[in-house]
């Protein structure tokens, strides 16, 4: 028991001593421990809310960013609205009337100029076509004349050949032909039967 007492005394006395010692000692150890142990004891950083969650600003839905079709890089043929149908955004709806005479005059001048140009080009085209036609016609005529000339030449040559053969009795034959074939024919017959 004594040792226990003593020990207790000693412990008490020693405890005080120890306490001072440990205090010194533990202070160092505590410092090192304090960072770990004291952390939960500190008041946690409070969330500072300027406005309540139910404040009208927070209740409204935040606008999500909308991507335009151009940003999405979608292939044009795959999009929902056909290519030609999309109307330009931000353009004013409705018709724009032309009522002042100046506006009418400008439109008229534009239309007139366009029309004149068209007619001019038409005339030019017609003229060119006409030239081509004329040239073709001339060519055809020349070809026909050439053919005729050739034919005439051949005819002449044949005629000349005939002339060469019957040059001796040309005059007599001509006379006989002009006088008539009635006289020449009976002569031949008489010769054949004689």
């Amino acid at each position: 028991m004594a040792p226990t007492k003593g020990s207790s005394k000693g412990a008490s006395s020693g405890g005080s001593h120890k306490g001072s010692k440990t205090s010194n000692f533990s202070s160092d150890s505590r410092v090192s421990k304090s960072s770990k142990k004291n952390a939960p004891k500190r008041p946690p950083p409070k969330e500072v809310k300027s406005k309540a969650r139910t404040a009208p600003e927070n209740l409204q839905k935040k606008k999500k960013r909308k991507y335009t079709e151009a940003e999405l890089n979608l292939p044009k043929l795959n999009s929902i609205t056909p290519v030609g149908v999309v109307k330009p955004k931000g353009k004013k709806k409705g018709k724009t009337f032309v009522d002042d005479s100046e506006g009418m005059m400008t439109i008229l001048a534009m239309v007139n100029a366009e029309k004149e140009g068209q007619i001019e080009s038409k005339m030019m085209k017609a003229r060119q076509l006409e030239e081509i036609r004329e040239a073709r016609k001339k060519e055809m005529e020349a070809r026909v004349a050439e053919k005729k000339g050739k034919l005439e030449a051949v005819k002449d040559s044949i005629r000349n050949k005939k002339k060469g053969k019957g040059a001796s009795d040309e005059s007599s034959s001509a006379v006989s032909k002009s006088s008539g074939s009635k006289f020449s024919k009976p002569k031949r017959k008489s010769v054949s039967f004689a």
């Binding site: 009337f97 032309v98 005479s101 005059m105 239309v111 007139n112 366009e114 007619i119």
Partner: protein, 184 residues
């Protein structure tokens, strides 16, 4: 009844310019008395009238207004413009190309036929094909209008029965189309 939009004005003028020359300006230019002539659209039909008349016409409900001024023609549903016979009196003084038909050709034309070469008295030189032509009788009365089938050069070589002008409107329509001419 309303004014024409820019596009409609352009369509209308390009059709009118098909038949008329540069003097088309005088159609919309103010006259000597300071009277301004305007085009107005009622339904699909286009009317030509003095501005004062157009202003008066605003007091009549659209549904009740049948006609005002001279009817020039109508817009088709595809957006083209079709000239009506009634515009002849407006267009004829400014004609670009003209064709006078002989007295023996007047009746065939007024019954709705095309103009054949045998019936042509004389016509403007330098007329290209498919251009608007106003048809006159020998005493310079406008009888109608149409589109040239051939250019003047080509038509010279044509045989007498060959068509030189396709009819589009003639004054005979006032009788033939009496019932439908002004219906909307």
């Amino acid at each position: 009844m309303r004014q024409l939009t820019e596009e409609e004005t352009k369509t209308l003028f390009s059709k009118l310019a098909h038949y008329t020359g540069r003097s088309l300006n005088s159609l919309i230019a103010p006259t000597d008395g300071g009277q301004q002539m305007v085009f107005r659209l009622q339904g699909s039909r286009v009317y030509y009238m003095p501005l004062a008349l157009a202003n008066l016409a605003t007091s009549i409900p659209r549904d009740n207004l049948l006609s005002a001024g001279t009817q020039m023609g109508k817009f088709t549903k595809t957006g083209k413009f079709r000239l009506n016979l009634t515009c002849l009196d407006v267009v004829a003084p400014h004609a670009r190309y003209k064709l006078w038909i002989k007295p023996n050709g007047e009746m065939p034309f007024l019954y709705g036929g095309n103009v054949v070469k045998a019936h042509v008295g004389r016509w403007s030189e330098d007329c290209p094909e498919h251009s608007g032509v106003i048809v006159y009788s020998q005493d310079d009365t406008p009888l109608g209008f149409g589109v040239s089938a051939r250019s003047t050069q080509e038509a010279k070589k044509l045989d007498p029965t060959g068509i030189v002008l396709f009819r589009q409107a003639d004054v005979g329509e006032y009788l033939r189309e009496e019932d439908t001419l002004f219906t909307t």
